[in-house]
Symmetry: C2
Subunit: 154 residues, 2 copies
């Protein structure tokens, strides 16, 4: 951790650009979800993840792994969604420590209603005018970063 620490001019410019994406892109997506459905970014992806599971059901701890989200946060979040009738908790018959989250019909309807606009915004912000080569590079860069994140245990 001791050696020449600083970034080159080029790296600095790249980092600034990436940093702006990091801070503004989630904010923009969240704003749209909030307006259209009263959902936060994480709430949306929890509902979306849930709808992909067989029976639209999944153990809460498993969902936390998928969302890279702490159990405590997810518990509060699910309580909010439950109050709104979008998900429901049910005990896991196989393991009585465990709780399962189930996407309700109403939750599914909300998700189906809001998803197209969300996907359209992702397409517009990220993929419009991104060449296939550019997209491949972007994915490779992102995958490398995720690999590094796993390495440092974050």
């Amino acid at each position: 951790m001791a050696e020449d620490p600083w970034l080159t001019e080029d790296e600095m410019a790249t980092w600034r650009a990436l940093d702006r994406v990091l801070t503004r892109l989630p904010r923009a997506l969240e704003a749209q979800l909030e307006r259209d459905a009263g959902l936060g970014y994480m709430e949306y992806y929890v509902l979306a993840g849930l709808s992909d599971q067989p029976g639209r059901t999944i153990r809460i701890s498993r969902l936390a792994e998928l969302a890279h989200c702490e159990l405590s946060r997810l518990s509060h979040l699910i309580s909010r969604l439950e109050r709104r009738g979008l998900v429901r908790r049910e005990p896991d018959p196989d393991d009585r420590r465990s709780t399962r989250a189930v996407l309700t019909e109403e939750g599914h309807r909300l998700l189906v209603a809001v998803a197209p606009a969300h996907v359209a915004l992702v397409r517009r912000l990220v993929f419009d005018d991104l060449s296939p080569a550019g997209q491949r590079m972007l994915r490779e860069a992102a995958d490398r970063i995720v690999t590094r994140l796993d390495e440092v245990g974050a």
Copy 2:
């Protein structure tokens, strides 16, 4: 907003990778700053931005633009930093509505103490094993996304 909304298989994979970076990279950087200096991500960049200004001083509203941060949030944030003696407020002589934030000597010392480890982590997570071509692509992709964000006014 009506046409074929869905993402291709490839786009979906790219988006998932990007999404993981969006959620986990800031978290990892923030965790390091929090451990080493008790600073949040935004707090660090506010101090860093401040130290780049002549006289380590800047109008608060200008700082909010630089950090793409709302005034209210910045005001609370600066109050916290002020309580810790890292910055100080002073009235702007040119415009009496305005307040200026000044980085204190102690704030500067903390910044200098924590910056190397932060930069080293950025280098490790983002730039190690990123080819010059890859870096150029990454920056171009990020810049395009920022341009789109400006277009939709986010």
